[in-house]
Amino acid sequence: MTRRALARTLVYLSLILATLVVLLPLTVVLLTSLKTDDELARGDQALSLPDDFLNVHNYVTAFQDGHMLSAFGNTAVILLFSIAGTVLIGSMTAYAIDRFTFRLRKLVVALFLLAALVPGVTTQVATFQIVNGFGMFDTLWAPIALYMGTDIVSIYIFLQFVRSIPVSLDESARLDGANAFTIYRRIIFPLLKPAIATVVIVKGITVYNDFYIPFLYLPSQDHGVISTSLFRFKGPFSAHWETISAGAILVILPTLIIFLALQKFIYNGFTRGATR
């Protein structure tokens, strides 16, 4: 019995330790974001509390001088288009692959599969030239096209769901004279709602957090998304940890709120999306 109690204590200790490791760096940054310039200059320890917990001055600075408003705007535009595109493209691909038998079908499937194995970071040297050739460099279309074009995970998620929709539904609609497009639009797409929710969540988080693609393709400040705009804090605010902290918290906050609101769906989305 005592051995069991000891084991339980160790389990809880390890969990508390992990919680501290996760939350401590974030908490300290939150505290720092509420401190004034002087408080930091005093050489206080990082763990000390701010004098005034309601000091939002740094947030105002970060938001205005860091061009965060346009960054959130650009991110929103990219999110909207790339998610809508991913949903459409993923569901159409899944429908075509699962519901039709046609020549070269195996080849098409293999093309999509093989692309999943190619890590995006490796091919950007050459992708860059293509994007540049289309004149999309430094426009929001570059990330949108790239996010839409290469999302194999969402195609796979849609494929799983299309398979679970009985073919008899398609057939009875076909007897009523519906063509393939009507079937896709009226029957398949509406029944894909749970898959769409999953894809929206997984894709949304990936796009919101991505750094590499906007960093390469959107160099001008007007086209900063939240990650590149935050990255630019490094120069002008390099010594001003209170402003950098406020910027970081501003970027983390939306994620936290959405996570708390949609916890269950997010876990499901990731187990479904990543295990493929």
Partner: protein
């Protein structure tokens, strides 16, 4: 695979097969649809695949082919002329140790992945049994994975600063270091690899948790009747039950370690010996305009990642990954 069934139930596109409709059922489709309709039907799947395939080929396959092409040239990425130099770039890669040295940095990330997988497995196992505040702990462990990489970079730059969080915490325990965490190659790389454990542990944890929870509960009960303890249960029920996810995680960790970019680039920009292969490639291509050499680097990395993936597929043939 499941398509065999479909094929038999709807093959009107292929014509003749339906000539003799089953008795008692009025033929809904004309025995042989007119040519145009047949043509249209054959085209339908391609109409759905038009946009997806165009994007896939433009942004994945054309770049790969081009990249292999560039890797045999001395192109700078801008000028209209490019000279074919044969295997020169690859020779340079193989003979200049500084270009290949960056792979040793991946070793830190590989070691970190091992720590990460073991820790994720431990937490997934204990949290799949009854523990108080389970959802809270689950949320805390997973949340870092959802945070923006740049924000994480800044949080940890501050964390590792002189007199920053880490030093303050150590001071609480009476340990005083006057040691810049990101100042020497070994401690900088260890610190950065630590950050990536912090960041990615949650994903592995959630994947393992999902797999463990899909194991039927009766198995545990039955094993308990047989006198199995937690370790036995882990060894004989959980470990085999999550093998597919485990191998997938290993493969993702290996290719992730080789392609480490965000955290080191954001935090140190590759200074003090923290440059990874991808940082080097990006710098070669976009700062030094050595598109040819950078392409050769990218081809090498791509081949290594594909090789690792291929080995894993060979080792675990029962993988559920199939798109058919």
């Amino acid at each position: 695979m499941a398509d065999l069934a479909h094929q038999t139930t709807r093959a009107p596109g292929r014509g003749g097969a339906r000539k003799g409709t089953r008795p008692g059922r009025p033929a809904p489709v004309p025995a042989r649809p007119p040519r145009r309709a047949r043509l249209l039907r054959g085209l339908t799947p391609w109409l759905f695949l038009l946009a997806p395939l165009a994007l896939l080929i433009t942004f994945t396959y054309v770049p790969i082919v081009n990249m292999v092409g560039y890797s045999f040239t001395d192109w700078d990425g801008v000028s209209p002329e490019l000279r074919y130099t044969g295997g020169e770039n690859y020779r340079e890669l193989a003979t200049r140790p500084d270009l290949f040295e960056v792979f040793f940095v991946s070793g830190y990330y590989l070691a970190a992945s091992a720590v990460q997988i073991v820790a994720a497995l431990y937490f997934a196992t204990i949290l799949s049994f009854n523990v108080r505040f389970r959802n809270f702990f689950k949320g805390v462990l997973f949340f870092p994975y959802l945070i923006n990489g740049v924000a994480i970079g800044f949080v940890f730059l501050y964390f590792f600063q002189d007199g920053g969080t880490l030093d303050s915490v150590l001071a609480l325990f009476g340990v005083h270091t006057d040691h810049a965490w990101l100042g020497t190659p070994v401690s900088a790389n260890t610190s950065l690899a630590g950050v990536s454990v912090w960041r990615y542990l949650g994903l592995n944890f959630v994947l393992f948790l999902g797999a463990i929870q899909s194991i039927p509960g009766e198995l545990y009960e039955a094993s308990e009747l047989d006198g199995a303890n937690r370790w036995h249960q882990f060894r004989h029920i959980i470990a085999p039950g999550i093998k597919p996810v485990l191998t997938l995680t290993v493969i993702l960790s290996v290719s992730g370690s080789l392609a480490a970019f965000e955290i080191p680039y954001i935090m140190t920009g590759g200074a003090t010996g923290t440059e990874t292969f991808v940082i080097q490639t990006v710098k070669l291509a976009f700062q030094f305009n050595k598109t040819g050499l950078a392409s050769a680097c990218a081809v090498v990395l791509l081949l290594i990642v594909l090789a690792v993936t291929w080995i894993q597929r060979r080792l675990v043939p029962d993988d559920r990954v199939d798109l058919t």
